[in-house]
Every structure is written in C-alpha cells, then in structure tokens.
Symmetry: C2
Subunit: 376 residues, 2 copies
C-alpha cells in the first residue's frame, strides 16, 4: 500500500486521461465515478456490493454527518471507514453545497456560514476551519475546501462575490488541512458560467496549490453545452499532474462528454436516486419501470449487465415491484444503475488506453439512441 | 429430485419431530420457518440471500398476487418461482386471512367471499375454486384450502359457523385442487380457542384427507398459553405421517414452544416486519435499535450471527441508519432477524436429532433473558 497520496496519468487520448490515484487505502482508477453515500451509506446498497460493482471510492456528505450522528461521535467510533464498513477511499465534500441546498435561514459572512439544520432546526456554523476539522474527524482520504455555491442563473456580481469569498476560504481550508500524510485536499473552482471568473478562480487556486482541483457550481440546472464550455475553459489552466473532479455530474452522456474534455472524477446522486424512483440507465438508454408497457415484458433489463438484478429478473417483475413500492425495487434498480455507471467508466478507461475514446463515446451514444427508439 | 410430495419423520423427541418434506423443487427440513414474501418478494431481501440464510421455502400471498400483478399474468410469465427468481419450494396461502384483515366491504356467503381490493377498491370474489385456481396459476408447491378466519375474541356461535363453513370449503378446495403431481394441498383447522370445535374441525379434515394440516386462526391476539393449549388439543388427532403447520406464528419463543408440541412448519412476518422497524431478535434477546443507548455502542449486534450485517457493523451504526430512515437499516436488520430465525430452526432440528430439544429450549430462553437483563 502507498503511504502517500499520488496521481499518475497512464495514457492520454486527446484531452481524455487514463490515470491512477494511489492512497494508503487503495488505488482509484480514473476516470472514476464515486457513488454518493450521503449519510454514511450508499442508499439501498451494501458496501461490499458497491465495491463489487467496481467502485474504488465513495463520496460522503460532511453536512449530513456533522448533523447526525456527529463527526466527533464517528471519530470516537473509529472513523467513517470503519463506521460504514468501507475500507476503501472516501471523499467528503465540504458541506457548503448542502448548506445552500438544504439548510434553513442560511447567512453567509466572511468568516463562514451560519444555518439551521433541515432536520431539527438547530443552529450551526460552518467555517473553513470547522469543515476541515469535521472532514479530519471523519478520516476522509480526499477532503474538499469550503466554498460558497450560488444557484444559477445568478447575477454576475453575486457570482463574482461568491467566487472571491471561496478563494479566501480556499486559503483558510488549506491552512486548516495542514499536513495529513496520505490524505489530500482539493480546491474548488467557482464562477458560475462566467468564463473570465472561472479562469480567475482557477488561476488563483493553482497559485495556492492543491492536491487536486474540482469544478463546483455546475450541474445546477444550466444546459449541458454551458457546462461543457465552462469545463473547456478551465481544463487547460489546471496542472496536468493533478486529478480533476467535476462535482455533482451527471448523466451517462455528461460523464463521457466531460471525460473527453479531460475530467478524471465524478460524483452524482443520479444513478442511486433514479434507481429508487424506478428509472434505470442501460446500454440501451433509459427505462422507466413504472411504465405500463413493461407489465408483461418477460425480458431482463440488460442481459449483459454485471448485476444479476439486471439479468435474472423480468422487466415485468421490476414493474410489479416498483408499482407495489417494494424495497427490492429500490435495491435492485440502484444496483443496476451503479453497475451501468461503473461499466461505462471501465469502458472509458479501456478506450482511452486504446486511443479510441471518441469512437467509444459515439458507439455508446448510438446504443442509447437505438434502444430508446425501439422502446418508443 | 423427487417427483412426488412426501414427508418423512427422521427423529422424534417427546412430541417434537425432525423431518423432511421432499418436493420436486427441493427438500424442506422441518421444523421449518418460512419467510413471508407477500408480493412475490421477501421485503428488503434478495432471494439468494433468503436462501443463503437457510430458508428452504418461502410463503407468498394469494390475496396480494391475485390483485397485483394478477395470477394469470404471473402464469403467462412462467409462474411465481420464475417471476420472483426463487427456484425452491413456495407455499401460498388461500387469501382468506387477508380478505379478513385487509379487504374492504367483505361479504361472506356459502359460495365464497366478495370483497373490495384495499389497493383500488375494485370488486373481487374469492371462492374455494378461485383460490385453488389462483394458487395453481402461481405454480405453488404447497397450496392452502380457502378458509374463513374470525377475529378473536369472537362469540362461540360465530366461531362455530366459520369453522363449519371452512370445512365445506375444505372439501371444495380439495376437489378443485384435483391431481397435481409433486404438489400438495393442506387443510386448515379452525375453531378459535374452543377446544371442542378445534377437535371437530381436526377430525373432519383428517376424514377428508390432506397432504398436510395447518392450524389457522391463532396468533391473532390471544395469549400464548391459549394458543399452546389449542395446539396441544389438536396435535394428537393429526396423522403422524403428515406435516403440521402453525400459521402466522410467531416470536422465537412461540416457535420453540410449538416445536416441542409437535409443530413442523411456521410462517410469520415478525422477523421481516420487526427488522424494517428497527427491532432485532438475537441470541441475547430483542434489541430496539431506535434506542438512544446504542448511539455510541461500538459492539456488533451479534458476533456469532450467520449474517455479516450482525457481525461487521456497530450497534451505533445501525442506530444511526434507523434514525435516519436509511434503506440499509431495513435490509440489514431484516437479514439479521431471518438469520436468527433460521439459526433457531437449525438448532431445534439438531437438538431433536440429539434428543435434547427441552434442554435446547431452556438454554435458548436463558440466553434471551440474560441478554435482556444486561441491556436493561
């Protein structure tokens, strides 16, 4: 096992990169998709199944864990890895995004943000120092700076203010992170879809110097081409020897489009949340298992999936389970989606190694289009 | 594989019996606990996990499946075993109990029972012939006669009327079952806690002749000693070469107390339902994981459980998951309970084979009492 946090690019194909992050807790093959384990569990999944589907790392949420069961409690129980029985790498976010999206009565000052818990209304303060302290208590392998996210669309001066505040918090976060051998801290590029603000944010973060760089504040409702244009503006300004993480993205197509633009890491609730609501992603596109047309369909969801749930049960059965609100529907469809997302990442990694990522993207998109046309 | 349905008693210990039911779909070791898979799924469990915990057979509910997704649909999809990916034996109830407990506007006539679906209010009729037709369409290995259950307490004349009606339906059910090689039909003893009515019901059913005999209408709120007294009155009147099934029972103690009185088969929602509500059954008694005293408890639920969920996670983690409403809590605690129920059955079978079932019952009850005293 490595004793340090390192990243190596093994192959490039256009802007796409095949790489490996090494950590004392294991290797993360990139491009990597990180399933979201908000409250110390990837919803409806056992950790060993998350691993078996090809996940090298999961994300967990600082905001949720600091509120319940509490970071100090998790630390006294041996840390987050032990708590959730996931011995592999964990990335924690800073809590900033959830404060924006979930908390009540949020107030941002230069020092940090005060808010009320969405659970019980209790008052809390999140500063760069507290966010880093919580992430350290959790024992996170990749810790994120505290940033301020704005909702898009947003007036330019508000985007600029939040970006500049996030830069000040980046410096404080890095100082608070200190030295944690084998662990990493990532900075977060902000600036909405204002290209010059994104460039300014990127250059200032690189100047501060981080173990990796994330792009935050996207996938918040803007069109895909605006997101990709922002990614394109940022990528050439990031150091090539550091991992690049596009936060909260996205659909299978978002992932492939971002990989060909040089992104190495992703997280998103989409596969898990969609699975809990009866929607699956497959080689043949999306399927909504609530749809009555599956009621008598004896075919499996995807006979080539790495998940037995996609192979050994009929679409009619899944439709029945979804309609009946059965827990097995959430378990099975979540697994099918994570299997597909990890299958897609494995395919992308192989394709980059073989210098054919563009062909892979086109073939994959053709599979989705043909499948959805057949199902229409 | 056997081509016929058979039952053999391998050992007796007092009234307790160690046996084997052989069916074309596999052997059922008795005493057997059948997890309940109401809507063609044991809630929050994958079928292969249900099997791995030691279940030889599951129960599924005729009432639910005839309403949704429909027996004809399941038949056209290849039958219930294929539908739910459970290739092992399945017992289906007759639908009578759920019509009593769930359906609206129930009306019983000599012919059968008309009712409105609890799901959509649609009108349905369940007759002995329809119940058997549904169970045949499902492909059930052990089919139950239609009976009328009364809620206890209940006036004696009402209990008697329902018992006599159930006997007429027993004859019609048997005729409708016809010849289904390798499959079985069980009669159901009714009569509330009126011993003479139970005896009358038993003797009339044996006269008709069934592949097995069930005791219905118990575990509906009466005290345990009333239930056991009823079991004791019935047992000596049942043919020793046929399996005996106590329906809807019960707690771990109910199971052991019934086994020493000669019962071979059980089903109950208790382990699965309790698991979904944060309660577990263990060698050390019950634990309610909602309880705040587990918030910082680093110990596993049961380090000797056959379920990794009981061994590899702390009580503090389960308390966190239960409190947060996480699906993994329902998955894990259900599995822990089924593991314990099947562990208990395996222990009882071994003890009967060794002629020490009474000692086993006492040891087991001592474990519960000591554990619960420690936890108090």
């Amino acid at each position: 096992m490595a004793s340090t946090f390192d990243f190596a690019v093994r192959a490039v194909d256009g802007q796409a990169r095949l790489g490996e992050i090494t950590t004392p807790r294991g290797v993360i093959r990139t491009p990597a998709f990180m399933p979201v384990g908000t409250a110390a569990t990837v919803k409806a999944m056992r950790p060993e199944a998350v691993r078996a589907l090809g996940s090298d790392i999961v994300l967990s949420n600082t905001y949720h864990l600091m509120l319940s069961p509490g970071a100090e409690r998790i630390a006294s129980l041996g840390g987050l890895h032990s708590f959730m029985n996931w011995p592999h790498p964990i990335l924690t976010d800073s809590g900033g995004f959830q404060v924006m999206s979930l908390a009540k009565l949020r107030r941002v000052s230069g020092n940090g943000v005060t808010f009320q818990s969405h659970i019980d209304g209790s008052r809390h303060e999140l500063t760069p120092e507290r966010s880093m302290a919580v992430q350290r208590l959790l024992g996170s392998d990749i810790q994120m700076q505290l940033d301020e996210c704005v909702r898009l669309p947003c007036p330019r001066d508000e985007v600029a203010r939040a970006m500049l505040l996030s830069l000040r918090w980046a410096e404080r976060s890095k100082a608070a992170f200190g030295e944690q051998p084998g662990r990493a801290i990532f900075g977060i590029v902000q600036g909405g879809t204002e290209t010059d603000l994104r460039v300014e944010s990127t250059e200032a973060l690189v100047e501060i110097g981080f173990d990796g760089y994330a792009i935050g504040g996207l996938a918040v409702g803007e069109p895909q081409d605006a997101m990709l244009a922002t990614v394109e503006a940022i990528m050439p300004r990031l150091p090539p020897d550091r991992p690049r993480y596009l936060m909260g993205v996205g659909t299978p197509d978002d992932l492939l489009q971002s990989i060909v633009r040089g992104v190495d890491m992703f997280d998103c609730v989409m596969p898990t949340r969609a699975g809990r609501h009866g929607m699956v992603f497959t080689r043949h596109g999306r399927m909504n298992l609530r749809n009555a047309r599956f009621a008598d369909d004896p075919r499996p969801i995807d006979s080539l999936s790495s998940s037995a749930m996609a192979r050994d049960y009929s679409r009619a059965y899944w439709r029945h389970l979804v309609k009946s609100g059965e827990i097995l529907a959430m378990m099975g469809l979540t697994e099918i989606n994570l299997a597909y997302y990890q299958h897609l990442m494995a395919g992308a990694r192989r394709a980059i190694g073989e210098g054919r990522i563009t062909a892979f993207l086109l073939e994959t998109a053709r599979g989705w289009a043909e499948g959805e046309a057949r199902n229409r």
